[in-house]
Amino acid sequence: MKTLDEFVALFAEQLDETDPSTVTAQTKFRDLEEWSSLLALTLISMIDEEFDVTLKGDDVKNSETIEDVYNVVVSKK
C-alpha cells in the first residue's frame, strides 16, 4: 500500500493547472479552481489503477481534503 505522501503526489499528477508543489495532504481539492466532475472521473480512474479500489461518487463528494480521500481508499483496501 502506498503512503499518504505518494498518494498526494499521484493526486497532484492528475492536475493540469495547479502547481504540484502547492498540493498537500490538507489541500481542499474541491476548492481548486480547475476541479470538475471530469477531474473526479480521472481521480476515480487513477485510484482504481493504482490501488485496485473503486470509489463511488459519494466517496469523493464527502471528502474535504486529499487525506480524506486517502483514508477512504485505505478503509476499502
Binding site: S37, S45, E49, D58
Partner: protein, 356 residues
C-alpha cells in the same frame, strides 16, 4: 451468480438502422464552458438523431433489410423480441406492433424487454432459450432506442439513436452461448427517469409550461450520476467477463473480439487497459454513433467488423452494462455471419403511416 449455457442456437446475421440525420457534437450549443474537454472524454464526434423517427420505425427498417439479406420469408419468423427503454407507447409493447408492421405471422411469439445497455445480452439469453428445443426455429432480437429525453445537460451529447436486429436460428449441434448475469438494484437511481412512471406521475401547470417550451428542461427527462456509473462500469465489467471465463473454462486469449457496450470513451478505455486488451480487439462505434444503449454491441459489430468476420469462424465475448444497474456477459462464435449494410432512414420515410 447466474450462469446459463444454451446450445443448438446460432447467430445468423445482424443489421443496423439509424436516422439519416447526423448531429455533430462540435456544433453543440449546450454543456457549458469546458464542453470540448467533455466531448473528448466521451469520444463522440457525431451521433444519429431524429426528432421524428421512433424506436419502432428504426426497428422496422433494420428488420426489413435483414430479412431481405437472409432471404427469410416473413412467415418463417416464429418469435420477435424487442428491447427498448424508449418504446413508442407504454402500452402496447413494440414487439406486438412490429409483428403487424413487418407482416409477420399471427402465430408469432412477441414480447418486449425493458432494459438499457445490458439489454442486448439479456435479450439474447431469452431468444436463445426460446429456440433451443427447435419448436421455434427462427427468431429476431430487435433492439432500438430513439427520442429519449436527456435534457439540455451534457448527457444529450453522448446518446445516439439506432435500432439493430440480430437474427437467430435453431441449429442442432451448434455450440451456442455461455452467459453470466448480474444486477445491483441498490443503485437504481444511478440512471433514472424519476418523473416518467407511476410513482411520481403528475401533470401540473409547471409541467405543461415545460412541455410547451422546447428549450426548457422538463422533469420527465433522464438523469445520470456519472461518477457512480463510471465506478460501476470499471469494476463490474472486468469482473463479469473473468467470472464468465472462469466458470465455463473459456480462454480469454482465444476470443477474437471483445465487444463492450459503448458507454463512453473513458469508461471503455479504462476497462480495456485494465483487461490488457488492445484497441484492435475491442472495436468501438462511439465516435460516429455515440452510446446507442442496448443497440451498441450490434451497432459496433455491424459497422466496425463488416468484412472482417463473415467468412471465418469468429469467437466473440460481449458485455452489456448500465441502467438497473444491470450487466451481462456472453461468449459465442459465429460462422458465415451475414452483416447487412447500414440502413439510413430519412426523417419522413414513415410520414404516410397514420398513428394514434
Amino acid at each position: 451468480m447466474a450462469f446459463l449455457e444454451i446450445k443448438n442456437v446460432r447467430v445468423v446475421g445482424m443489421a443496423t438502422a439509424v436516422p439519416k440525420n447526423v448531429a455533430h457534437n462540435s456544433d453543440a450549443k449546450i454543456g457549458g464552458n469546458d464542453v470540448d474537454k467533455f466531448i473528448e472524454q466521451i469520444g463522440v464526434s457525431e451521433r444519429r438523431e431524429s426528432m421524428l423517427l421512433t424506436a419502432a420505425d428504426l426497428q422496422v427498417s433494420a428488420v426489413e433489410r435483414m430479412l431481405s439479406d437472409l432471404q427469410w420469408e416473413k412467415d418463417s419468423v416464429d418469435a420477435i423480441l424487442s428491447v427498448s427503454i424508449s418504446p413508442d407507447y407504454p402500452l402496447p409493447v413494440n414487439a406486438c406492433m412490429l409483428q403487424d408492421r413487418l407482416g409477420l405471422s399471427r402465430e408469432c411469439y412477441a414480447q418486449d424487454i425493458s432494459l438499457g445497455c445490458s439489454g442486448w445480452v439479456y435479450g439474447l439469453s431469452v431468444i436463445a432459450t426460446l429456440l433451443r428445443d427447435g419448436n421455434i426455429k427462427r427468431g429476431l432480437l430487435v433492439t432500438g432506442d430513439s427520442k429519449m429525453h436527456w435534457g439540455k445537460g451534457r448527457e444529450a451529447l453522448l446518446f445516439g439513436h439506432a435500432a439493430c436486429v440480430t437474427a437467430l436460428e435453431y441449429e442442432p449441434g451448434s455450440e451456442g452461448f455461455k452467459f453470466e448475469f448480474g444486477t445491483d438494484g441498490s443503485n437504481y437511481d444511478a440512471i433514472i427517469m424519476p418523473k416518467s412512471g407511476l410513482r411520481n406521475l403528475h401533470y401540473d401547470d409547471e409541467m405543461i409550461k415545460q412541455f410547451e417550451d422546447p428549450f426548457m428542461q422538463h422533469s420527465m427527462e433522464a438523469e445520470m450520476k456519472s461518477l457512480d456509473v463510471f465506478s460501476f462500469s470499471i469494476s463490474r465489467v472486468p469482473e463479469s467477463i473473468s467470472t464468465l471465463c472462469d466458470h465455463f473454462g473459456v480462454d480469454f486469449q482465444t476470443c477474437d473480439y471483445l465487444v463492450l457496450h459503448q458507454a463512453n470513451k473513458s469508461i471503455n478505455q479504462h476497462i480495456c487497459n485494465k483487461m490488457m486488451v488492445d484497441s484492435e480487439k475491442a472495436p468501438s462505434s462511439l465516435e460516429r454513433f455515440g452510446n446507442t444503449l442496448s443497440s451498441s454491441i450490434p451497432v459496433t459489430i455491424t459497422t466496425q467488423l463488416k468484412g472482417k468476420v463473415e467468412d471465418k469462424k469468429t469467437n466473440f465475448i460481449c458485455c452489456g452494462f448500465g441502467v438497473g444497474l444491470s450487466w451481462a456477459s456472453v461468449a459465442f462464435s459465429t460462422e458465415h455471419l451475414v452483416l447487412s449494410d447500414l440502413v439510413e432512414v430519412d426523417d419522413h420515410y414513415y410520414d404516410d403511416l397514420k398513428w394514434v
